[in-house]
């Protein structure tokens, strides 16, 4: 009986650390090979406090968590700020973990490689279960809050996440802090259970095992890794397998899962969702849906959003909303954008056309700071955008869609629209983790607004469906809905009609005009579908080889010799769209 209890205790202690790695790797998509170091820091900190200073148990655990979190900042801030690609980042963390181990082996206070014996065995099974339960509760609150939304968005598509107003650096750092704190808690519990710790217990091998558990359990799930953790610890004991073969099994499982079933046990769903499907089929819900399913109605009566103001047609009176001056961007030897100067009046639907490769999308990428211009200025409401980070530009009031749709594919449509809305939510991290009432209220409001938006775009029926399952045309609409959720004054649409037939294009044109009117937007649209451009734009700019070829009203452009030469074609017949 004692033996079984000890297995369960060890498994639960391990689960706390696994939870931490699940937040960082599973939900934020950052691969780390050094989290065992944070377990070690938590273990040593709490052990030193109780051993040398007779500190009480719970505060020492807390101290372990805090120190682990602070240490994670040391490696986190430089590496995350530098935006290292995923394997460089993993190597950096690996180096950090190994370096930390060397440090632990050589400091006096840690007793070096000999380890620290005689730690008070404060850890009991009830204490561990309490810690685990609190951790799961806290993590669940974190992941269903705006922060969790941001982490998942980063995992799904970092570029789109930034365009939804998520600050990549701060969110990743927060994810690291939370995961390090959880690992630290696990370490503290471990130290006071085994009564003896050694640096060799917190190396790359243990980090790999943590990672293997999360991957086997499923990135994007909480219950999956917890289940896997239990299996990995309990099963070898049940089979009386020697420690060495256990590690062989870890390695084999890791390779097999990554190659043959990369989503692991639970994939992106939770055990509760699977059980619900088994016992109450018929209610479909998107993976890790933070919103409960409830009957949706396709409402034909769209909820009026803002007072419908007629779109201002007077262009000379207000200053232009967006101004580009001598904008230039080179990629190596290619001049993608060549001293482009443009002025977009407020309240217009402004078209940008030109041959493929003319640099139109690059202009969008420059405005939204995906790239930095080599020369020139970008002025939004007469203020320069050049120093701002991409998510700050979103908060200024500029939203965009992408040429190749960039949705958060595994998230539901509602989640896709909620993500940008949540980035403006008024609650902080601590409130989120503790799930204070204000958080619940804020979330309900945001959810209602997201549903309004979906209803307006006639997507309400798909609210709980994963975005990737939508037909192409509806995916485009969802992307526009997500952009609108950011409450922009300027909407950048990059080839919204790509791949659509004339009927769909007509519907899209009407739709764009509708939202232009209803939300009082200025719309900048890149398109090749001339019927759409000519129908809805009040002014058009033509770009060729990165430079402005012509600019004017649709009639002027249609007749312009240079435009006909470069792009529209001098045909014998003259078809009006």
């Amino acid at each position: 009986m004692n033996y079984i209890l000890s297995i369960v205790t060890l498994a639960c202690i391990n689960m706390v650390a696994v939870l931490g790695v699940a937040v960082f790797t599973g939900f934020t998509g950052l691969f780390s090979l050094g989290h065992a170091a944070f377990v070690g820091i938590g273990a040593y900190t709490s052990a030193i406090l109780t051993y040398y200073y007779d500190a009480p148990f719970a505060p020492s655990l807390g101290a372990g968590m805090i120190v682990a979190a602070c240490v994670s900042l040391i490696i986190g801030i430089p590496t995350l700020k530098a935006k290292l690609r995923s394997d460089y980042f993993a190597i950096a963390i690996l180096g950090f973990g190994e370096g930390l181990r060397v440090l632990l082996e050589n400091l006096e206070i840690t007793n070096g490689a000999r380890g620290l014996p005689g730690i008070e065995p404060h850890t009991t099974l009830p204490a561990v279960l309490l810690a685990l339960a609190l951790s799961i509760w806290g993590v669940r609150n974190f992941l269903t809050s705006r922060w969790g939304s941001a982490c998942i968005a980063i995992r799904e598509d970092p570029v789109a996440a930034e365009m939804a107003g998520v600050n990549l650096f701060r969110t990743r750092l927060l994810s690291l802090l939370v995961s390090a704190a959880l690992c630290g808690l696990s370490g503290g519990l471990l130290a006071h259970y085994l009564s003896f710790i050694q640096p060799v217990m917190f190396t790359l091998v243990q980090s790999t095992m943590l990672l293997a558990t999360v991957i086997a359990g499923g990135m994007g799930s909480i219950s999956g890794p917890l289940l896997a953790s239990f299996i990995f610890i309990a099963l070898p004991e049940a089979l009386r397998v020697a420690q060495i073969w256990r590690l062989v099994a870890y390695g084999l499982v890791l390779v097999t899962i990554v190659v043959y079933r990369p989503q692991g046990l639970m994939g992106y769903t939770e055990l509760s969702a699977v059980l619900r499907k088994v016992f109450a089929p018929g209610k479909s819900s998107a993976p890790f849906s933070t919103t409960p399913s409830s009957p949706r109605e396709q409402s034909t009566e769209a909820v009026p959003k803002t007072a419908a103001t007629p779109s201002p047609s007077g262009e000379g009176e207000k200053p232009p909303l967006l101004r580009l001056e001598h904008l230039t961007k080179n990629f190596g030897g290619i001049r993608a954008v060549d001293a482009l100067s443009l002025s977009v009046p407020e309240g217009t639907v402004y078209g940008i056309i030109g041959p493929n490769g003319a640099g139109k999308t690059t202009v969008f990428n420059l405005i939204t700071r995906v790239y930095r211009p080599d020369e020139g200025v970008i002025l939004f409401r007469e203020r320069s955008l050049l120093g701002l980070a991409p998510d700050a530009i979103v908060h200024e009031g500029i939203a965009r869609t992408f040429q190749n749709i960039r949705l958060f594919n595994r998230q539901s449509c509602l989640e896709n629209v909620l993500t940008p809305l949540r980035q403006r939510a008024p609650y902080g991290v601590a409130s989120a983790i503790l799930h204070l009432p204000s958080v619940g209220r804020a979330e309900r409001e945001l959810k209602a607004r997201a549903m309004e938006l979906l209803t307006e775009m006639k997507l309400a029926a798909y609210a709980d469906a994963p975005a990737a399952t939508l037909p192409y045309g509806l995916q485009r609409k969802l992307e526009i809905a997500r952009a609108l959720a950011m409450g922009p004054s300027l909407l950048l649409l990059d080839e919204p009609a790509a791949g659509m037939n004339p009927e769909e294009t007509r519907a899209l044109s009407a739709h764009i005009q509708e939202i232009h009117r209803r939300f009082s937007l200025t719309v900048l649209v890149i398109e090749h579908h001339m019927d759409l451009i000519m129908r809805i734009c009040s002014r058009i700019a033509v770009i060729n080889f990165g430079a402005l070829l012509a600019e004017g009203t649709p009639e002027e452009i249609r007749k312009d010799e240079r435009v006909l030469e470069a792009y529209l074609g001098k045909g014998k017949s003259d078809h009006a769209a």
Binding site: F31, I75, G95, F96, V102, V248, L254, V255, V258, V259
Partner: protein
């Protein structure tokens, strides 16, 4: 003293260079960090040991068999653990995870079957020394250094003068285009892994002779990453230079500062490089299209 330190540094640097070259080769072609490289190094050491124990107690056969054996193992590793992912165009993250799994699997397999005992190669040239300007160089170190340079030079010739070599360099630039030009990608990648494995095998033997043979010796590949990053990931001359620089700098730190903190210094160097000089000395910059 300084000269002696330099010579020691160069000798271990040569071995680092051998490890880094194999690692950089795979990285430059497949764009992922092959964490299983260390396991292949370790297996090369064991193969060489086996040859010396049970076949012929002399160096050259051991090196030859270890090179071929480790090369074959590397190809098998690729086939079993990476090829499906590669065909599925999985992100490099998954390849890395698979590599990690292989490393743990192989290391512990050796642990479980052969045992954790440390083995030593019989004394070859380990005891004979040469004196150069007042400092002693072990004959083995000299041999290892010359062999490293020679092997890497040979690789360079292979890459620039043979058909397969040119195909590999084309693959480094653009795999898809390469296959469209009629190159059999599977065969190409097999060749790349064989070469990487062969280099790993030699590095393993030299490490085994210089130090000892044991299942976890593969983790010295950490040094290979550092060397490769110094020289610039994806650059083979960079791997050579990086290895030599790392060897010298490490030995200098070890001699003049503290041998205990040598590894700490190396990891710190790694992190600093990844942050501030990610392309190393000779590496190339690649951007992402949005």
């Amino acid at each position: 003293m300084l000269l002696q330190t330099l010579i020691t540094g160069l000798s271990i640097g040569g071995i680092y260079a051998l490890m880094a070259v194999g690692y950089s080769l795979v990285f430059s072609v497949l764009n992922f960090s092959n964490f299983a490289h260390g396991a292949v190094i370790m297996l090369g050491a064991y193969i060489g040991l086996g040859v010396v124990r049970f076949l012929a107690p002399s160096l050259l056969p051991a090196v030859a068999v270890a090179m071929i054996g480790a090369g074959v193992l590397a190809v098998l590793n690729e086939r079993l653990a990476y090829s499906l992912l590669r065909r599925r165009k999985a992100p490099s993250l998954y390849l890395m995870i698979s590599a990690m799994g292989c490393a743990v699997l192989l290391e512990n397999l050796v642990y479980a079957t052969i045992g954790s005992r440390f083995y030593a190669y019989p004394e070859f040239f380990a005891t004979s020394v040469v004196t150069l300007a007042g400092s002693t160089v072990s004959l083995l170190d000299l041999f290892a250094f010359i062999f490293s340079i020679g092997a890497i030079g040979g690789l360079h010739l292979f890459l620039t003068r043979t058909k397969t070599g040119i195909a590999i360099r084309a693959g480094v630039a653009d795999m898809t285009m390469c296959s469209l030009m009629g190159v059999n990608l599977d065969r190409l990648i097999a060749v790349v892994f064989f070469l990487a494995g062969a280099f790993a095998g030699v590095a393993g033997i030299f490490l085994g002779i210089k130090y000892l043979v044991y299942p976890t010796m593969g983790w010295i590949t950490n040094k290979a990453y550092i060397a490769a990053v110094i020289g610039g990931l994806g650059s083979l001359p960079g791997a050579l230079i990086g290895g030599l620089i790392l060897g010298i700098v490490e030995t200098l730190v070890s001699t003049y500062i503290s041998s205990v903190y040598r590894d700490l210094f190396s990891f710190g160097l790694l992190i600093a490089l990844l942050l501030y000089l990610p392309n190393g000395l000779l590496g190339r910059e690649t951007g992402e299209k949005v």
